[in-house]
Symmetry: D4
Subunit: 185 residues, 8 copies
C-alpha cells in the first residue's frame, strides 16, 4: 500500500461531530430512501495484490494514550469511570476500570465505543436518531447513550472510545472526546 | 410428494410485499381474534411414508448467488454491508461480511433474515406492525429493522435474506430484494 | 400436609382470567403500595418434617396431553405452531415444534409459558399491565405477548402453557387454553 | 420431487449400527486421508427448480410417537429419563422431561440426539471413535455418551433421538432405540 | 488505611433516598452537561502503599442478616419472594429463593440489587430517571423496577439489596429497605 | 397425598455415601448394560388428581440453615469458601459467598451441588466414576470435583449442597456434609 | 491473480505447513522457555502517522473465492461440508453451509478457521502440539481438529479457512487447502 | 513507589512461586484430607463497624503500570501479546490487546489472570497440579496454561496478571512476572 503526499490526520471527535451534523438523519432505518453518499471506509485495496486489503487502526500505544487521557479527564473532574477503546472490528484494544467505577461501567464503556465506531458518530448524536428509527437500539452489542466518540482517519472510523460512570452521559462523552483529542497532538 | 404442472416459482420480494399487503395486520399480537387463513407452509407430508415430511429450501448455489447479488447491489451503490441468507429453520446458510462493513452488520443481517423468514414478510412491513404489537420485537433472534426479505416458493417462506450496514434500512432492504430477484431469473 | 374433602381441581385458564381480572393492576411496579393479598403458593410445608416442603406440578402424562391438545387445536385451525409446557420452576417439561412452525416459535412458546406461570395469569392479561409497569418486560426469560396460560391447582400456579406461531397472539392463547382445558377433563 | 417405486424406509437404530460398524474409523479426525464414500444426504435437488432442494424430516406426529415410545420403555424399566427428538438441522422437535428425571437430563438428551444426527450413528459408537479423534468431543453442541440414536431414511439421517437419566448410557440408548423402532412400524 | 473519629455509618435506604432526592436528574444521559459533584467512592488509597486501595463491603454475616431480614419482612406480609445482596463489584454475596417464589424472581432480585449499587440509589428512584434517559435500561445487568436498595457507608455504595416476587415493586422495595435497616442496628 | 406412619427422614450425606457405595459403577456410560434397580424419585403422584404430582424439597429455612452450617464449618477450619444449595430441579435456593472466597468459588459451589443432586451421590464418589465414563463431565452444568453432597428424603435426592474454595476438595466436601448434617437434627 | 516482481505472496497452506514444520514445537505452552524468533505480524506502523497501523486482510471477493473453491473441492469429492473464512481478528468474513452438511459443521468450520489464524498453522499441525500442551484446547473459540488452514501474506497470518463435515479431518483440511490455493492463482 | 518501615509489600511473582512451592499439592481436589493452614485473605474486618470489611486491591494507576510493563517486556522480546489485570473479584481492571496479537489472546490473558488470583499461584504451577486433580480445569472462567501470575499483599492475592500470545506459555509468564515486578519498585 503506497501513500504519498496526503497527510493522514486523526480528526478530533469535535470535528467529527461537525462533519456529521450535516449528515444527521442519514442513518434513519426506515423512513427514507434517499441514497446518501457512502461514508469512506478504513479499508483500502492493496495495489500490489488484489486479494489483499489494508485496514487502518490505532497502535496499542495510541489507544492506551487515548484511554489514559479520557480517564485523566474524568479523574480531574472528580468522576469515577471506565474507559474502553475498540477497533474498527469492534474488538476491545484497551479497557480501564477506574478506581471507584461501578460494576455496570466497563461493559457500558465497551458498548458505547462499539456503537460509535459502528456508525462513525458520537453516541450523543446517535441517541437522537432513535426518534426516527427506535429499533436501531435492538442491534446486539450497541448502547445508545452519550459517552462514545469515534476516532477517524481521513473521515473513516478507525476506532471508538467509550466512557461510562459519570452522573451524566454528556460528562462521559466529554471525557471520551478528551481521549480523541489526545490522538491529534 | 407429487408435483405436476404447477411451476414452482420463487417470487421476488416485491411480489411478496404486494401479496402480504392485503394481510397486513394479521400478525397483531393481541388486538384481534379474527382467524385469518393459515399461511402455506414449506413442509409437505411424504405420500409414501406418513412419518416423513419434506421441507423446501434453497440450494447452497442459489443461496450464494442471492447473497452475492445483494452484496453487488450494495457495492454498486457505494455501500459497505453484510449479507446473510438463512433457511426456514433460521439457520445461516451464507454470511458475507463486505469490505468496510461495520462490526454490528453481520449479526444485524442475520437477525433481519431470521425475522423475514419467520413471519414471511419484509422487515420493513414487520416494523410497521409493532405499532399494534410492540412486544413482538422481544422475541429472541429477531430484529425489526428494514433490510430483511423473505424468499418464497408457492407462497411459503423457504429462506430469508438480510442486509445491514447502509445508512438507511430502506437501502439495506433494496439490496436484499436484489438478492431475492437473482433467484427468479 | 393434610388434605381433606377439598377436591384438587385444575382450573381452566378461562376461570383463571376471571379470578385475576379483579386483581389486575396489582402488579404495577412502582405506582402504588397497596398491599394486595398474597397469591396462594403451590408449595406446602411437610407436617412430619419441618425441613421439607411439597411442590405441586403436572405429571409428564398430563403435561404431554395438554401440549398435544394445544397443538391439535392449532392444527384444526390450520395454524403452524410450537407448544411448551413449563413447571412452576420455569423448567420445560414438554416442547413440541409443530410441522411448519417458524424458527422463532419454540423459544417464544417457552417464554410465554414461563411468563404465565411466573405471574399466574394469561400473558394477554399481563401484556396489558405493561401500561403501568413497562419495565416488567425486561425481566430475563419473559415474553409479554398473548399466547401463554397458567395451569392452576387450588388457585396456585403449577404449570404454564405457551403457544407461538399463529398470525395473532389471541389465536395462540386460544390454543394454549385448549391445552389447559384438556387437564380439567 | 417425484418418488416412484423405492420404498422410503425408516431404519431402526440397530440396523444403523450394523451399517456403520463397517465404516467405523472413517470419522477419525486426523489420522488418515482415505477418501471414504460420502454418506447419503437427506437433501435432494428439486427437479423443477434448480434453486430449491428438499430436506426430509419427521412429522411432529412421528417425532412425538417416537419420543413417547422411548419414554414408555424407560418407565417400564423403572427409569426416570428425559427424551429429545431433533431434526437434521439439530433443532429440537420434541422434548419430554419425564417424572423424576434429574435437572441434567433434558440438555443431555438434546445433545445426544444432536450428536447422533450429526454423525448418523449411535452415540455409543461415536464414543468409541474418540480413541482415535479425542477432540471431536470439543465440537459445540455435542455429547459423546451412549443414549443417542439416529433416525434414517434411505440411509440418510433425518432425525436424532436422545435419552438421558438412566444409571447407564447403555440403558439410555436402549430406550432411544425403542423410540426409533416405533417409527418402523 | 487510617480512620479516625468519623463514625462509619450504614445509612438506611430511606436516608439514601432523601440524600439522593436532591440530586435526582443528575443521571440524565444526554440532556445536560452541568458537572455535578462527584459521589463519594467506597475505594480509598492505602496510605502506606500507593499501589493499593481498600474497597469497603459487607461481611458475609452482615449480608446474610440483611437478606434474612428482607425475606422475613416479606414472609410476614404473606409474600413469596427472592432476595439478593450484591457487593460493590456487582458480585452476588447472598441469594435466597424463598418458598413459593416464582422462577423469574431470583434473577430479578439480583438485577435490582446490581442496579441499586451501580447508581447508589433505590431502583424506584432510578426508574423515574428513565423519563429523561430511557436507554439507561439497556445497560447489561440492570433492571429498572422498584425493589432494589443501596447500602451505603459514609454515603458511598458498598452493597445493593434486591427483592422480587411481590405483586408490586413498591412492596418488594419495602422488604429490601427492611434488609438495609437490619444493618443499621 | 396421604402420609401415615413412615417417618420422612433427611439422611446425612455420610449415610448416603454408604448407601451408594454398593451401587457405585452403576453410572458407567457405556461399558455395561446391567439393569440396576431404579433410584427412588422425590416425585409422587397425587392420589386425588391423577394429573398432579408432588415434588419434595427443602424449605428456605432448612436450606439456609444447611448453608450456614457448611459455612460455619469452613470458617471454624479457617477456610474461605462459597456455599450453594440447589433443589431437585437444579435451581439455586441459597448462595453464600464467604469473606475472602475467590471469584471462582460461587459457580464451583453451584455446579458441585447441581452434580450431587443430579446423580444423588457425593461428588467425590462421582469423580471416581469418570474412570469408567470420562465423558460424563461434559454434561452441561456439572463439575466433577469433591465438595458436593446430596440431601435425601427416603433415599431420593431432594437437594444438593456444594462448597468450593478450600485448598482441597475433600475439605470442601467435609463442610458440605456438615451442612447436610444440620438437617438431620 | 497476477503477481510479478512484488514480493507480497499469499502462500498456499502446503507451503505454510512446510514453513512451520521447522518451527513446530515453538508453540508448546509450558514445556520450554527457548525464546523463539517472533512470528511476523500482519500489522504495520503507518510511516506518516505514528498513531496508526495497517492490518492486512483478504478482500471479500478473495475470501468468497477461497470459500467457494473449498466447497467445490468437497462437492467434487462427494462430501457435504461447511466452510468458513475468518480474518486476523477472528471475525467471520464468509460462511457457507453446504447442501447436506450436518448441524455441527458451521461452528466447527468457524472454530477451525479461528484456530488456524490464531496460531498461523494448519489445525492438523496444531492438534499434534496438544501432546505437549494439552490445555491449549481450553482456550475459548478454538477447535483442535484437522480442517483449518492459515492464509499468509509475507509469512504473517491474514485469514483462516476452516472446513467441517467430511468423514475425516484430513479430508476437511484438504478442502481448506484447496481454498487457500485458490488465492495463489 | 516508596516503602519505608511498613510491612505491606507487594511480592514479585518469583517470590510468590517460592512461597507457594512449599504448599504445592495442597490444592488436590480429592486425593487428600490434610487440613492445610488457611491462606491469608485480602479481606479485613472493619474495627469500627462489624458489618463492614475492607478488600485490598490495586489502584488503576498501579494496574495500568503493571500491564504496560508486561506488554513492554513482550515487545522488547519481539512478541505480540495481550495483557490483562484482574482484581480479587475476578473483574478485569486493565486489558491491553497489543499490536499483532491474535484473536485468541485477550480472553486467554483474562482467564490466566483470573486463575492466578483465584488460587494465589502462577498458572505454570497450577497447571502441574492437574496431574492430581485434572477436573480443576473444568471450573468456569479458568485456564490452566502458563502465563498468569498473582499479585500479593502480605501474602494474600490482590490481583492477577495474565499474558497470552507468545509462542510458549513460559514466555507469557515471564512477561506477566515483569508486570508484577513493576509493582515492587
Amino acid at each position: 500500500m503506497k501513500k504519498t503526499s496526503v497527510r493522514t490526520r486523526v480528526l478530533t471527535g469535535t470535528v467529527a461531530v461537525a462533519a456529521l451534523a450535516a449528515g444527521v438523519g442519514a442513518v434513519s432505518a426506515s423512513a427514507e430512501t434517499t441514497e446518501t453518499p457512502a461514508a469512506p471506509a478504513a479499508v483500502k485495496a492493496d495495489t500490489q495484490n488484489k486479494d489483499l486489503a489494508q485496514t487502518t487502526g490505532l497502535t496499542i500505544d495510541a489507544a492506551t494514550r487515548a484511554a489514559q487521557a479520557a480517564l485523566d479527564a474524568a479523574t480531574k473532574a472528580g468522576q469515577h469511570v471506565s474507559v474502553a477503546v475498540v477497533d474498527r472490528d469492534g474488538v476491545t484494544r484497551v479497557l480501564l476500570k477506574g478506581d471507584g467505577a461501578g460494576p455496570q461501567a466497563p461493559e457500558s464503556a465497551e458498548r458505547k465505543a462499539f456503537t460509535a465506531v459502528s456508525w462513525n458518530a458520537p453516541t450523543s448524536e446517535l441517541a437522537k436518531r432513535l426518534a426516527q428509527a427506535p429499533n436501531l437500539k435492538d442491534i446486539p452489542g450497541t448502547l445508545f447513550l452519550a459517552g462514545g466518540a469515534p476516532v477517524q482517519a481521513k473521515g473513516a472510523p478507525v476506532a471508538g472510545i467509550g466512557v461510562a460512570g459519570a452522573p451524566s452521559g454528556d460528562l462521559d462523552e466529554q471525557f471520551a472526546q478528551a481521549g480523541v483529542a489526545a490522538l491529534a497532538k
